[in-house]
Structures are given as structure tokens and as C-alpha cells.
């Protein structure tokens, strides 16, 4: 075991290495309540005169609602209130509006149209669950059934039914510019022409229901001080509080939310639908109200981990080095955004997987279909793309006739390597993880692979550099549908350009490592309460390597030469000197880059987008994170909590 380095240095300052907890019983602080049945889940609070909510739900994937007749339900003596869309003060919401991301696109109660089976239209508040169920059966809805779409790629086709009127292209709008999230690093198309093999595949992961033992729900009740108490099973208490304050247009100070004991969540209890409805029920009746899904609702209406489709196209050299990876991802958001827009960005930040690949491009779409809206679940945005990438790594290994673990060790990130999203890799441990896994499985590794280390061989030469990057305007909002082209990453790109290579100066470290290219993306440790004393230089001051380096070059040495023997120090193995053999530049059918994309373009501060070349939609940045008003911004405070909305 001695030959494996467990990288214990990585967390040396965060924990001692005695591992004293291992093998020792450590009691959960909440376990006594669990074994005595006294842990207070949201439903374990008793109220006299508790009312129950049940919802009238769409039986159709997609339909216009012509008329809703609640008269029979309203006439039932046990029914206290029938809540319609018009009764919700702010009916439209999107979960991430609290951090200013995305447009309000989902009604609490459907208004005029339904977009998935099970979507609630009307909420009945009744004295008993059974009375509420009976009243639901008594509501008559006149639907005009509309064509529906259930497949992500079909949804992007020009004639597809429009699922969500707020996003009429059936895709989330990224940075107010593109119908997908882009990642561009190097020149994938040029590198693919030089690869020995092109390995291509499509991977599909189905939706997965979190299926918690406790179904989602909340109980609201009036308190004596004019506040409303809400017991909830949410995993995101303040999120739910903020959403409730927004949708009911009331100050959050009137809401007393109590949670924390969750009967299993796995990510699926963050959608904040029960709390607004339960509190609204209480506001309208003055009585305690429970809104709890039954099991069928939990499975049918409860938002699952969304389905994802990934297309991976690798350029691979005969010795196993992956020189290019192009990915297209489709997240099935279902009918509304919820957290899928964020999942797309999460996955983009994860690409191209834990491998040092000099040319990477990805287009990831957040697609609307007439399915149940999807939401968070344990590593959502990462698991399916990892599934695709790791299946693909095996396929690459098979193609080049290489051991799959050795292929991973060969291509793994090493400390100091430049990642596709322009941060340098640190604390890498994939090589070591592969070595341990191989050893545990008695899987033979070559001496070279056994001797490889994340600590050496990385961050040298091209491995530490941001390459000259090919960029394009493919997929501007609305164009795909309007012009009828498919989901090919480059289809419809009427402008292409190149961004000069940028080199991150080792001296220009920010508090968290290398300076980000986008100042908005920099965490401000001082603000978070840390004293850093670090140089306050920012990305815009980082010296940039002036002349563009040669286009992507492909090392030609055999794979075995790439492994670094332990103890060789940081010297670069011959195989990792790619710039020594510049390959011919690929001529691209591109418009000349606008003047703004000069050598300093990548380091431009996030001031308003450069208008100088206004006729060209081409932006000057490889990543489009910054310019749009709707983009991710510096961590901020919800207007509801900050007091702008009372």
C-alpha cells in the first residue's frame, strides 16, 4: 500500500490525520427522537380544526383550460374555500428568482393552460381529507387538449408545441443571448481533424424520483401575534420562506417557518409549492391548514431528477491521449424551469470531466417538455454527465485498445493543469483514486501507470495555459426554431472568431487560487469574513501573453512515455510538450474577429458588453457568464429578505 499516495496533504490544515472517528461509534444527535418516534416531522404537530387541501390536477400533458366549474364543490358543506389562480397574489414564480436568475415562468395554480399531467389548477380547502377529495371530484374542467412534446430534441425542433409561454423556444435563455450554455476552450473542430480516432456516442439517463418516505407537505396555522406559523418538510427553509413571501406578497416577518426534520429529501424537497398554498389557505380561512401529497402525487407530481441526454464526440490519438472533446447536453426541465437552468451551468462547470483535454466545446440546453418539472436530486447536473463521460472513457479505451484505468490515468487532471473553465486544477487525486481502485480490485497496472502521480507532470507548458479559443454565435435565442436547424453545436453560427490565448500568471493569484477571468465570479473572502491580506489584483490587471500561440498541436509520442516516474520532480515528460510540433492551422469559415477580441479580450473587466462592433453579435469572451443583466452575479441578498419588498 506504500506506493499509493493518499494526498493527505490536501486537508492537513482542516483536520488532523488521526482518523480517530473511523471504526468508532459516533451517535447521531437526532437518533433518540428517531427510535422513540418523537422526532418532530412537519406532520407531527396537532391543531384543533385542521383543514386539508387537495388539488384539482390536469389529466392531460398539455391543454388549454376553457372553463372551470367549481360550483358543486363550493356548495359542499365541508368545503371552506376553493382557491383559484386569481386568488394567489403573485401567481407566477421561478425558484431562482430569489437570486435574480431566470424569469418567473411557473404558476402556483395553473391559469388558462396546463403543461404536464398532474399540474394543479384549483386547490380545495375542506374540513377533512375525504371531503377535500370528494370536492376535487366534483370540479368540472373543460379542457381543449393541445399537442404535446415529451422528448428534448423534438422539443427544440421548429414545429414543436410551445410548452412554456415564457420561453417560447422551449429552451432556457442563457445570458439573454443564447438558447444554451456555451463552453469553448481551444479549437475542438481543428483538433478533431487531426485525431487518429473520432469516438462518438449518445447517452440517456431517465428521470429518477427521489421517493422520500415522508411525502412533501406543510401545515400552516395562525399565531396569536398576527404571524403565520408554517411547519414544513422543506429542505430549503429560507428558500421556501422567500418564495411564500413573494407569492403571497407579504413581508417575510409575518412568516414563522419551522422545519429541519425531514423524512428523507434527497434534494426533492426544495420546490416550495406546499408552503405558499398552505399559508394562503390559512390566510383565506383563518384556520390551520395542511397540504400534504399522497403517495401517488409524490410519484406523479413530485419533481424528479430530470432526464438528460448527452452526446459526446472525442478526438483521440492512437496512444490514448484525448485531444478534443465536444459535448452536447440536453436537460429535460419538464414544463417549468425550477432548478434545471442551474443544473445546466453546474454540468458545464464540470466538463469535460476530470481530464486534461486541450480542446473542449460544449453546448448544454435546458429544454422544456410536457413532463413533470424536474428539480434537484443528489448531484443533479453532474451524475448523468459523469455517467456519459465515464461510459465514453471506456469506449475510448476500447477504441484505442488500451486498459480503461490506464486511459484515465493518462488523461487525468494533474495539479496545475488548466481546466476548460479557466481555473487551474488543484488537489487532483484521480490518478491516486484509480491506483487504489486498481489495487483493491487486483487489476494489473503498468509500472508507468502505477508510478504516475497527480503531483507531477501537471501545469507545465501547454497544460497550464489557456489556448487560443475558437468562438461562435451558434444558437442565438430564437434562431434555432426560426431557421429550422438542429441541435448541432455549431449550426446557425453566422459569426465565428478567435480569442487569443491567455496565460494565467502564477504570481497573479487571487484569494482562492488563480484569478478568474470574470471578476464577477471572484469570491470576496473579506466580505465572507476572512482576513486575507492577499494582493488585491484582479483579473483585469493580470498580464496577458501577447502573441497568440500556435493552434492546437498534437503530441505524437506513445502513451507509455507520458507517465512520470515518482520522484522525477516537476520536469515534463517528453510526451507532454505539445507545442513542439505545431500542427497546421485549420482554416475556418469565419468572419474576422471583431477588434474587441484582441489579446486583452479575455481579461476585460465585466463592464457592459463591448458595443464597438455592434453590428456583430460576436462577444469577446469564451464564456458568456458576465455581461447579461440576468447572469449569475456576485452573491446577493434576496430583495424579500433585504427589505426592498417590505
Amino acid at each position: 500500500m506504500n506506493r499509493v499516495d493518499y494526498r493527505k496533504d490536501l486537508f492537513a490544515d482542516e483536520r488532523d490525520d488521526s482518523l480517530a472517528e473511523i471504526g468508532q461509534p459516533t451517535l447521531r444527535q437526532d437518533i433518540l427522537g428517531h427510535v422513540t418516534g418523537r422526532s418532530p416531522y412537519y406532520d407531527d404537530h396537532l391543531f384543533d380544526g385542521l383543514l386539508h387541501i387537495r388539488c384539482v390536477r390536469s389529466p392531460h400533458h398539455h391543454a388549454r383550460v376553457r372553463a372551470v366549474d367549481c360550483s358543486a364543490a363550493e356548495a359542499m358543506p365541508e368545503v371552506l374555500k376553493v382557491i383559484r389562480a386569481a386568488d394567489v397574489p403573485v401567481n407566477m414564480n421561478t425558484l431562482l428568482s430569489l437570486i435574480g436568475f431566470g424569469k418567473d415562468d411557473e404558476p402556483l395554480l395553473a391559469d388558462g393552460k396546463v403543461a404536464y399531467i398532474g399540474q394543479p389548477l384549483v386547490a380545495i380547502v375542506a374540513r377533512s381529507l375525504r371531503a377535500a377529495q370528494a370536492a376535487v371530484e366534483a370540479v368540472r374542467v373543460d379542457y381543449e387538449v393541445l399537442p404535446h412534446v415529451l422528448d428534448v430534441e423534438e422539443a427544440l425542433a421548429p414545429g414543436a408545441p410551445i410548452v412554456n409561454d415564457v420561453y417560447p423556444n422551449n429552451s432556457f435563455d442563457y445570458h439573454e443571448r443564447y438558447d444554451h450554455q456555451k463552453l469553448r476552450f481551444g479549437d475542438v473542430e481543428a483538433a478533431l481533424t487531426q485525431a487518429d480516432h473520432i469516438v462518438e456516442s449518445t447517452y440517456q439517463m431517465s428521470p429518477i424520483e427521489q421517493a422520500p418516505m415522508e411525502t412533501c407537505g406543510a401545515i400552516a396555522a395562525p399565531e396569536t401575534n398576527d404571524r403565520i406559523v408554517c411547519y414544513t418538510g422543506t429542505q430549503a427553509l429560507f428558500f421556501s420562506l422567500g418564495v411564500t413571501a413573494k407569492q403571497l406578497d407579504m413581508p417575510s416577518s409575518r412568516l414563522h417557518f419551522i422545519g429541519g426534520t425531514v423524512g428523507g429529501g434527497f434534494g426533492g424537497k426544495v420546490d416550495s409549492h406546499h408552503e405558499p398554498l398552505a399559508v394562503l389557505g390559512t390566510l383565506l380561512t383563518g384556520r390551520p391548514v395542511k397540504y400534504q401529497w399522497d403517495r401517488a402525487e409524490e410519484m406523479q407530481v413530485g419533481a424528479p431528477r430530470g432526464g438528460e441526454r448527452w452526446k459526446v464526440r472525442d478526438g483521440v490519438m492512437a496512444d490514448g491521449r484525448i485531444i478534443a472533446r465536444a459535448l452536447t447536453g440536453f436537460f429535460d426541465a419538464g414544463a417549468y424551469t425550477r432548478l434545471s437552468s442551474y443544473a445546466v451551468q453546474k454540468s458545464t462547470g464540470h466538463l469535460p470531466g476530470p481530464y486534461t483535454i486541450p480542446n473542449v466545446a460544449s453546448n448544454v440546453f435546458c429544454v422544456y417538455t410536457n413532463r413533470t418539472p424536474s428539480t434537484a436530486m443528489r448531484g443533479f447536473g453532474i451524475t448523468a454527465c459523469d455517467f456519459a463521460i465515464e461510459c465514453h472513457m471506456d469506449k475510448v479505451a476500447e477504441t484505442v485498445g488500451m486498459d480503461p484505468i490506464e486511459l484515465r490515468i493518462l488523461n487525468a487532471y494533474r495539479d496545475g493543469d488548466m481546466k476548460a473553465h479557466r481555473r487551474s486544477a488543484k488537489n487532483c487525486a484521480l490518478i491516486e483514486a484509480c491506483q487504489v481502485a486498481a489495487e483493491k480490485a487486483s487489476w494489473p497496472l503498468s509500472p508507468e501507470a502505477s508510478a504516475a502521480s497527480s503531483l507531477s507532470g501537471g501545469g507545465i507548458g501547454w497544460r497550464s495555459e489557456i489556448p487560443e479559443t475558437s468562438i461562435d454565435t451558434a444558437g442565438q435565442i430564437g434562431r434555432r426554431r426560426q431557421d429550422g436547424h438542429g441541435t448541432d453545436p455549431y449550426a446557425g453560427a453566422d459569426t465565428r472568431g478567435r480569442v487569443a490565448a491567455g496565460h494565467v500568471d502564477a504570481e497573479a493569484k487571487s484569494a482562492l487560487g488563480n484569478a478568474p477571468q470574470d471578476r464577477e465570479m471572484e469570491a470576496d473572502l473579506e466580505r465572507l469574513g476572512f482576513k486575507t491580506g492577499l494582493d488585491d489584483r484582479r483579473a483585469d490587471e493580470i498580464p496577458v501573453q501577447a502573441p497568440p500561440p500556435p493552434p492546437p498541436a498534437i503530441p505524437r509520442q506513445s502513451g507509455s512515455a507520458l507517465f512520470v516516474a515518482r520522484g522525477n520532480g516537476p520536469s515534463l515528460p517528453s510526451g507532454f510538450s505539445p507545442r513542439s510540433q505545431p500542427a497546421p492551422a485549420t482554416v475556418r469559415p469565419s468572419a474576422p474577429p471583431p477588434s474587441a477580441s484582441g489579446p486583452d479580450a479575455l481579461a476585460r473587466p465585466p463592464s457592459p458588453p463591448q458595443p464597438s462592433s455592434g453590428s456583430s453579435p460576436l462577444e469577446t469572451k469564451a464564456q458568456e457568464e458576465d455581461a447579461a443583466p440576468n447572469a449569475l452575479r456576485r452573491p446577493t441578498v434576496s430583495p424579500f429578505l433585504r427589505g426592498r419588498r417590505r
Binding site: 381529507l129 375525504r130 377535500a132 377529495q133 376535487v136
Partner: protein, 263 residues
């Protein structure tokens, strides 16, 4: 709204039945409907009469409609039904679910009924009428009376076989279930009864398989023709557990294992 009618005898309960009424056995079906607000359920009828007797009558065994799966597992006389009784639910459900209720369990439930069907089940109704299980199942949505008991042939030796295919063990819902009563005459199969569960809206007999096994011997070649007709005349359902296509594909495989006693 819902009402509950409790009677002292099954006959009185039968009189209390009517539109919107369902008879409560162990509760696993009727209480689920009540909990879910099934609008077709307006009256729950139950009887305090005990219907949990198990009696041997010649070569047949008569099982009270109120005998639970646990009751079948505990009784020596019904040991041959143990594989089917054990295939129903978990321990809690087996403590509640009754023989009479199983006759009304919708797809994909009702594994015990598959066994009863293969064993020439006869339904004894509260009005004294007897009815073969097969036609009873065909008309089970509108039964002619309440079930008082079910009687089955007592199989000889290894003649009765049961198999349940599910994705989760030990408690899982049926992809399909199969029961065979392999009676013989002069060393050859004769009067064989084969029944399937989860291969239609209710448990069904595999008539084509039964015909093909008549006079055959239990060898790979002897059952080949029966396997070829494993799903003739059947319309297996598509559901979340398996597609109709899958059920058709695997049915001959499981039938072979059942007939040849393979694991």
C-alpha cells in the same frame, strides 16, 4: 360521504351490498381505496362472522374467505399453498390480506388466486351457490354474492408448482406469476392446469399450454410444444414493471423452469 355497515353474519352483509358498496376483508384493497378518496366507494360493508376455517373435504380443501395469508402459512393442511401465500406482500400485508380479497385483487396483485386457479378452485358464495373460480374471476367486477370460502384440489406430492417473478426480493410485485397442477394418468400428464398472474387484467388459465401438455412427459422435448404456445390467446399488460413484449418474451422461459423444476 362514506359509511360503514357492520353486520353479524355474512348473509346480512350480502344484503347490505349494493351500488358503491365494497366488502371489507383484511382492508388491503378497500382501505386503500378509502384513503385515496376513490369516489366509487361510498359504503364499506363488513361482517363480524368469522370466516377463518380450513377444512379437508375428501380430496379437496375448503378455505374460509377470511383466512389470511399468514393463516395459510400457519396451517398444516394448506402447506402446499405456502409458496403462493408467502409471495403476497410483506408480513404486515400477509397478516391482513384474505383469501376472499385476493380473488378481487387487481393486476398486478392476486398471486394466491393464480395458485387457486391451477388447483381447480371453486368459490362458495354466501347464498349457498358454488361457482368455478374461472368464471367467477371473469365476472368479478359484479360478483353474484359474497365469498364465504374457496375450495381447491389437494395436490399429490410434487404435482403442484408455483413461481413468482418479481424485480425485488423478498417482497416485490409480480412481473408475472405462474402455477401448475401437473396431474398424471398412467405416467403421462393428464388434466393439467396452468394459470398465470399479471398476464391479463385478472389471473387466467393458459388453455393452449394445458392442451399441449396433455399426454406429454416432463422433459425438454415433451414440453417444447407447450412452451411454443406459452402466451397464445393472452394479452399481457404494459405497466411500470414490465412491458407486454417483455412478459411475452420471458413467459416461456419461466414456464420451462416451472415445468422442469429448474431454479
Amino acid at each position: 360521504m362514506l359509511e360503514v355497515v357492520t353486520t353479524a353474519t355474512l348473509a346480512e352483509a350480502a344484503a347490505a351490498m349494493g351500488p358503491g358498496a365494497r366488502f371489507l376483508g383484511g382492508g388491503t384493497l378497500v382501505m386503500r381505496a378509502a384513503n385515496e378518496g376513490d369516489p366509487t366507494l361510498r359504503r364499506i360493508v363488513r361482517s363480524t362472522e368469522r370466516l377463518d376455517r380450513i377444512q379437508t373435504e375428501g380430496n379437496r380443501i375448503r378455505i374460509g374467505a377470511g383466512v389470511t395469508m399468514s393463516g395459510l402459512l400457519a396451517a398444516r393442511e394448506t402447506a402446499f399453498l405456502a409458496p403462493a401465500a408467502r409471495a403476497v406482500g410483506g408480513p404486515q400485508v400477509r397478516n391482513q390480506a384474505t383469501v376472499g380479497g385476493n380473488l378481487h385483487a387487481p393486476h398486478p396483485y392476486g398471486d394466491l388466486t393464480v395458485a387457486l386457479l391451477a388447483l381447480d378452485g371453486i368459490v362458495h358464495l354466501s347464498n349457498g351457490q358454488d361457482m368455478a373460480l374461472e368464471p367467477y374471476l371473469a365476472a368479478r367486477a359484479h360478483p353474484p354474492g359474497l365469498v364465504a370460502a374457496v375450495s381447491v384440489t389437494q395436490p399429490m406430492g410434487e404435482a403442484f408448482r408455483f413461481r413468482k417473478v418479481s424485480r425485488i426480493k423478498p417482497k416485490g410485485v409480480s412481473v408475472l406469476s405462474m402455477a401448475a397442477h401437473l396431474s398424471r394418468s398412467a405416467g403421462r400428464l393428464s388434466g393439467v392446469r396452468i394459470a398465470y398472474g399479471a398476464m391479463g387484467p385478472a389471473p387466467v388459465r393458459a388453455a393452449a399450454v394445458e392442451r399441449a401438455l396433455e399426454g406429454a412427459d416432463l422433459s425438454a422435448t415433451g414440453i417444447a410444444s407447450a412452451l411454443a404456445q406459452a402466451t397464445v390467446g393472452l394479452e399481457p399488460p404494459d405497466d411500470a414493471l414490465a412491458s407486454a413484449w417483455y412478459r411475452r418474451e420471458v413467459a416461456p422461459v419461466h414456464l420451462r423452469r416451472l415445468l422442469l423444476g429448474e431454479p
